[in-house]
Amino acid sequence: MARLARLEVTDDELDAFAGQLDVILESMQTLGEVDTDGVEPTSHAVPLVNVFREDQPQPSLPRDAALAGGPDTAEGRFRVPRILDDEE
């Protein structure tokens, strides 16, 4: 699960989390008791759907400002580590 969440957690952390998450999950199992047949899910407290606006161009964040917070940028782009495996 940690890998799926892109977290390189240590073994010590995993041990601690496992016990703590068990307690939390146990409390969540109680939701299994509830009869939810035919109940609509609530995704937001306020029932608003499909908020539209005119499709008009608006000024957006200047590129330099958008890049300013990045840990590694070059030539007007974010630099990222390699995304393809080395060919063996």
Partner: protein, 500 residues
Amino acid sequence: MDDRIIDRTAAGLAADIREGRATSRSVTEAFLDRIDAVDGEVGAFLHVDRDGALATASEVDAALAAGEELGPLAGVPVAVKDIVVTGGMPTTAASKILEGWIPPYDATVVERLQAAGTPILGKTNLDEFAMGSSTEYSAYRRTANPWDTARIPGGSGGGSAAAVAAKMAPLAIGTDTGGSIRQPGAVTGTLGAKPTYGSNSRYGLIAFSSSLDTPGPVARNALDAALLHEVISGHDPRDSTSIDAPVPPVAEAARSGASGDLSGLRLGVVEQFAEGAGAAEPGVLDAYLAGVDQLVKLGAEIVEVSCPSFSYALPTYYLIAPSEASSNLARYDGVRYGLRSGDDGRRSLEEVMGLTREAGFGPEVKRRIILGTYALSAGYVDQFYGRAQKVRTLIKRDFEATFEQCDALISPTTPFTAFKYGERTGDPYQMYLADLFTIPTNLYGGPGISVPVGLSDGMPVGLQVMGPVMGDDITYRVASALESTQDPLLADTAPEIEGK
């Protein structure tokens, strides 16, 4: 008794500035000096913007001198929780993963503060990404409770609450996802209000749980909070869950509540709040019940109401909030902002992402991301997240039904007073119980306010007033009426911090 600027109410300071008895600059300086004097001991701020605050103050003074009409809080300084983005001013969400990040834009809340002429003193401490109830999960510093510096100030907005309690700011902005404005308010003897979801823009709030997050005011009394509430509220087209309707008249309600007349008002007590392992500790219950007696003396009628689904609120919240958080926090990938760790030129993007997130997130954030990832994973999503959303519907129906029988609900804000550092960090579930009574309002979307009601072993206790959706004004009326029975206000009686 109001010798010192820092002892005065925000409403009083605003009037002084407007009517020429004080300048915004002198007021702002007084709070900045107070921060210099006592924040070493309290630890409420992550960043103080002396120059920026004084520049705004001078602009307000110049505008007033030129005869301009300004808003009701013009010139009164405010502290802002460090999860609300401030253009040009560091914003960290108290996480290492955003260390050094300077946002390129302002949150709507911040834009509205600037338009209202309120100098921003700085950014206040919190639990990392607002996940916690003690501010102990901040990656940067510990914040002390001004009532007893060996104790926590609540969380996640412990910094905003402590800043107001220690009179380093007359007002502060918080955010509330499951109680992060109200629980710190209760344990620091300040007033914190979570507005109706959607009535305050989330644009520029660093997202934790998007269907629950709500910004709101922190103050030492209801009228001050209401004035700030009105400054930041209102429709915002940049937030697609923003309600396009008039803001409830909260300042008027706070003024009318101050007369102390609650006759004709029905206040509901949820019978299930008193049941189960999470019931309030005896000292909290005593202070709360004394407050209920006061409300009855003011003319309110108390009715018992039932919310059978209440016992499922905590597990429902701890499925929904971590699920949304695991999705929202996916953006911290070491590419667009903040930290990148382990990029040695050989590791792949995915490896670097994992190492960055491992180095940048603290334990509670990791726990919740793992929990949320689990609850959303293939094969489990219906059993966990899907089921929680359905139970949320049942909880919402229960609470909506109570407002057929009463005007507002009351409860203790949190089951226990401020605990000592480290007392609950080893057992996350014990920490989660702090929000037992505040979580339901986030789930059904209504407003909730915590008003200081008394002391238990010398530590403050809060009474919570919960209203129907867009019934914020009722909660302010009750809070203000309760304050009318206190002289001096409980919030004004915090022990003096001498500083070093």
